[in-house]
């Protein structure tokens, strides 16, 4: 169930009421998807495609001494076996840290360029054959001899070896310090000092990483599954050593990305290399198992949260220290404590990020990088503090609600955290929660309630869009934006239709081709606002161009129309008391159609970003039932109340939040990739053993959007929300588990074996 609350007086409700923007319109690409006609990367059909299969390293660190592929080459249908010995030259990988933040996305990512093995299952060979089956069978016949070196994989035991990186992901300061944290924490009358652990996690989008590479002369077209085409184009061009213009990326439909498809991976590089060698199209996909080592992960972390407060419940000190594993050859520092800098007021503050190198592939951006693991820990610590203060967790948060961004010292654009919590409490029946744990029982089950806050920065990425209208009134927009399953096609259709006053059916949105105007793609929850704003500007520009021509063209019924603001609505244009059909008008003044472009600059370069602290907010509520005999934790209900600016489509937005809440269930209760420190491999590398929530785990979920319009954020008034559902939702569940059982598990996920020792002897 989704609702829009309508109470807020200063909201722009009258403006948005009849608007297409905000309406819960079903996905415009839905019919294509459910009928199997949306073409995903591996499904693009070309003549003569050959199939590649990757063989991964059997060790985690060392050197290849010998590769014998003779038997594989004899398999009928095998066309080529590529190893480091015969792969086309590629640049060296380069330093662990790129000179600038954006270069991490565009740097060369060579594959099969050395006998070194840097991580388990790193590609050591690519077999290309007439069929996938032949390639896979042949790969099984390749014999590789290694010289193994001992790798290091442990995090908790090596915190003393940690180093401070130069910056975190997304270019934030590694540390922040305000006031005197140590002094204030030592002097605080009520304290929490708790250490939490979060495990390796994997994105596991439904669609695996897959690429079809087709060369034509010295230009290559890459059909792949990418969130940001410009990154793929640049990254592949660097790896192949060719200019970007010779790489075209096509990715119209994406079966989920979650941050695992922001940079090129081995499938893309190897397909491009093999297709060039063989002079014919080549398809390469990672298997589900291969994705665990080769397509990014969230690193294991240890977090120490220290909160000091007065008896009045006001925080005097906030400390958030994060130790994270990182790949030794490519640094990745998730910005886990960065949100802490903006969430609650306290005069004395400290946040720090430290890294411990391990012999794994690089970590990547995984849905809500930073907040996902960070809020899981921090919002549990707040719950622990509330209990020590004998305060309701919502009241504790209200008492520490800042009036401005506590570390940046700038005002918030919009911040409805308190309203989210209060509205949520009312709807959820929070008053039924017993603050003393283990008090609500239903038969053999212990029932618990928990809540947590949500915060996620609002980013805007540079984006451009082109929009054209033809003489029949049909509108086509082009952007190199992607729809990773979030509903981008749909909301962009709504924005264009609304702006130009035409029906949705008259709009055609073309995405997923690097030949289209460049955007920041899908990532960091910035997609809708960035691409949407660019399109909005393009539509405004188009209207201006239409009106220019309409006012001056001899053939125009609006010729000489006065300066009154034209109104585009219902497929018509009105100026003053003159109204004409838009199609008719274009047909007369521009039989070949009219087009225009629009763009937005990256958020950090804008004045409004410098002068306002921009975040989306929310409050999550969870009810769990814990079997008092076995410790099994099952969800009962979840509610999220969200304040994220103007909602562009209540249905797709709700889906995003629901998905995020489900990720919260995963992070709190089941997701964990087990790393075997003896071999350096992820043990449970498939979807039978890596548990994500299934339908039966989700139960009842409700999403409520507070009516909000953030005029500082962008011309649409919208803020990012694709990741907000993850932020804190896991903590709400963990707090509910505590409320149910009185057991505080600080090592995620909270599986039943961790509760078992603390449960009462069976109550039979």
């Amino acid at each position: 169930m989704t609702e829009m609350t309508t109470s807020s007086p200063e909201s722009r409700s009258s403006e948005t009421r009849n608007s297409l923007i905000g309406r819960p319109i079903g996905r415009v690409d839905g019919p294509l998807k459910v009928t199997g006609r949306a073409t995903y990367a591996y499904e693009h059909a070309v003549n003569e495609a050959a199939y590649g299969y990757i063989l991964g390293a059997a060790i985690a660190k060392g050197r290849i001494v010998e590769i014998d592929s003779a038997e594989a080459e004899r398999v009928p249908g095998v066309l080529h076996v590529m190893t480091y010995r015969n792969a086309p030259a590629q640049p060296e990988f380069g330093p662990a840290v790129t000179p600038t933040v954006p270069e991490v996305f565009t740097r060369a990512r060579p594959v099969l360029n050395s006998s070194r093995v840097r991580f388990y299952d790193e590609p050591v060979a690519l077999v290309v054959a007439e069929t996938f089956e032949a390639a896979r069978a042949a790969a099984g016949l390749i014999r590789v001899r290694y010289e193994e070196e001992g790798g290091v994989f442990d995090l908790p035991a090596r915190l003393a070896d940690a180093y401070a990186p130069g910056r975190t992901n997304a270019g934030f300061e590694t540390d922040s310090a305000t006031g005197d944290f140590d002094g204030a924490f030592a002097a605080a009358s009520v304290k929490v000092d708790a250490t939490y652990r979060t495990p390796y996690e994997h994105h596991n989008p439904m669609e695996p990483h897959a690429t079809l590479a087709v060369w034509s002369g010295d230009e290559v077209t890459i059909y792949t599954s990418a969130q940001t085409l410009a990154n793929f184009q640049a990254g592949l061009a660097s790896t192949l050593g060719i200019p970007r213009e010779r790489v075209r990326i096509v990715s119209p439909f994406i079966g989920g990305g979650f941050g695992a498809k922001l940079i090129v991976h081995a499938d893309t590089v190897l397909a491009a290399l093999a297709a060039r060698v063989l002079r014919r199209p080549v398809k390469v996909a990672l298997t589900r198992q291969q994705m665990f080592a080769n397509a990014g992960h969230r690193a294991e972390m240890v977090q120490q949260v220290r909160l000091g407060a007065g008896r009045d419940g006001r925080l005097t000190s906030i400390g958030h220290d994060v130790w994270s594993a990182t790949s030794g050859f490519e640094e990745f520092c998730e910005q886990t404590a960065v949100f802490t800098r903006s969430l609650y007021a306290a005069p004395n503050r400290l946040t720090r990020h430290r890294l411990v190198p391990v012999d794994l592939n690089r970590g990547e951006w995984m849905r809500s990088p930073g907040e996902a693991p960070g809020m899981l820990a921090f919002e549990c610590a707040m719950d622990e503090l509330a209990e020590r203060l004998d305060l309701d967790p919502i009241e504790l948060r209200i008492r520490n609600e800042p009036t401005e961004d506590p570390e940046r010292g700038v005002p918030f654009s919009t911040r409805n955290l308190v309203a989210c919590m209060q509205e949520g409490a009312r709807r959820f029946g929070w008053e039924r929660r017993n603050p003393t744990p283990r008090r609500i029982r239903e038969g053999r089950r212990l029932i618990g309630y928990g809540m947590a806050a949500a915060i996620r920065p609002n980013y805007i990425g540079a984006a451009a869009a082109k929009v054209a209208i033809d003489a029949t009134g049909r509108v086509t927009a082009h952007l190199d934006m992607t729809d990773i399953g979030t509903g981008t096609y749909t909301i962009l259709s709504q924005i264009a239709a609304e702006s130009l006053g035409v029906p949705i059916a008259a709009i055609k949105i073309e995405l997923g081709d690097s030949r289209f105007p460049r955007t920041a793609g899908s990532g960091g929850s910035w997609g809708a606002s960035s691409a949407g704003s660019a399109l909005h500007h393009a539509c405004s520009a188009l209207k201006e161009r239409i009106m220019e021509a309409a006012r001056s063209d001899d053939r125009s019924p609006l010729r000489g129309a006065d300066a009154a603001e034209p109104i585009f609505v219902g497929g018509e244009v009105s100026v003053g008391n003159r109204t004409v059909s838009l199609a008719d008008l274009i047909g007369r003044i521009a039989p070949d159609g009219i087009e225009a472009t629009g763009s937005v600059a990256a958020g950090r370069n804008t004045e409004s970003y410098r002068t306002y602290s921009q975040h989306s907010y929310g409050a999550h509520f969870a009810e769990v039932a814990v079997d008092s005999d076995t410790g099994e934790i099952r969800m009962r209900r979840m509610l999220s109340v969200i304040g994220a600016g103007r909602i562009l489509n209540a249905k797709t937005a709700r889906s995003q939040i629901l998905g995020g809440m489900t990720w919260g269930i995963g992070a709190a209760l089941m997701e964990e990739t087990v790393l075997d420190p003896r071999y350096g491999h992820f043990v449970n590398h498939d979807l039978a053993e890596y548990h994500v929530p299934v339908n039966g785990d989700v139960m009842e979920m409700e999403v409520v959007f507070l009516e909000e319009y953030d005029d500082k954020a962008n011309p649409l008034g919208a803020k990012g929300l694709g990741e907000l559902g993850v932020c804190g939702s896991g903590a709400a569940i963990a707090n509910a588990v505590y409320n149910a059982t009185g057991l505080r598990v600080r090592e995620f996920p909270i599986t039943l074996d961790k509760l078992l020792p603390g449960l009462p002897a069976s109550a039979i």
């Binding site: 087990v674 043990v683 053993e689 299934v694 074996d753 069976s762």
Partner: protein, 328 residues
Amino acid sequence: MQPFTYERAGNVQAAAAAVATRPEAKFISGGTNLLDLMKLEIERPTHLVDISRLPLDRIEETPEGGLRIGAQVRNSDLAADPRVRSRYPMLSQALLAGASGQIRNKASTAGNLLQRTRCSYFYNRNMPCNKREPGSGCAALEGFNRMHAVLGASEACIAVHPSDMAVAMTALDAQVETTLPDGKARTIAIGDLHRLPDSTPHVETALGHGEMITAVTLPPSPPGRQVYRKVRDRASYAFALVSVAAVVEKSGDRIRGARLAIGGVAPKPWRTREAEYVLVGAADSGSAFSEAAESALAGAVGRGGNDFKIPLAKRAIRQTLAVAVEGA
């Protein structure tokens, strides 16, 4: 996956003979386990004999008042059969607690019994595993063994048998009917179908090469209340950490009859006769359930990651017995 030849068997005996004559041949039924293993080259049969279309898909009454379940009866059909649901509800519950709807639609009765362990090291050809490669060692012993066995295991292998269905069938004293390559039939008590690993974990069953399961017979349903309880890491679509199949018959406030089998804890579905002796004749009280649970887990050995299964199994047994008694 390595290339293989394929044939569709015309009848049971031809199928058995076709496998028997080739050392690297295997039966394929629903393929939901075998194909996964072949893709990963854990199994590398050179010849497949498809038995999925043989007319072994009926569930029939036996003269004794039990049911005879054809080897090809799909897990979903078996779970939905009204006779099974009314007379052997624990079997239906066990089936529905396993895998997913899609898999159950493909999975056959015999294939379910013969599915192989889900040990992650068994599934990874780069890891030592005595079951996959005899003599190579067991990576799970000192490794990630949260899912592994606490009963019946050996130093060579601590893998568990993952089937839910088989646990219920074990409590129900099922008999497994087979056809040998020479056409002869034999019957194996379900408790004797799977072997303990000892020093030969790669030898998993009592079946000879080419011996084909044709049916599973259930004796008349035992008196008392049946309950199958599966404890797992998520609400659905997860293998058992521990499962309990219990049949309890009461007389007044005493227990007249009891059957107890547990899953997820041993290399085979684990019947706990000692616990049954404890229960029969005892008062239906928590202390009898606790004693039975202790007895069922007597001799259990944890290997680190799976230590919790010992208390968990005891708790699950106590709870299941209590639930069975409540309704009995």
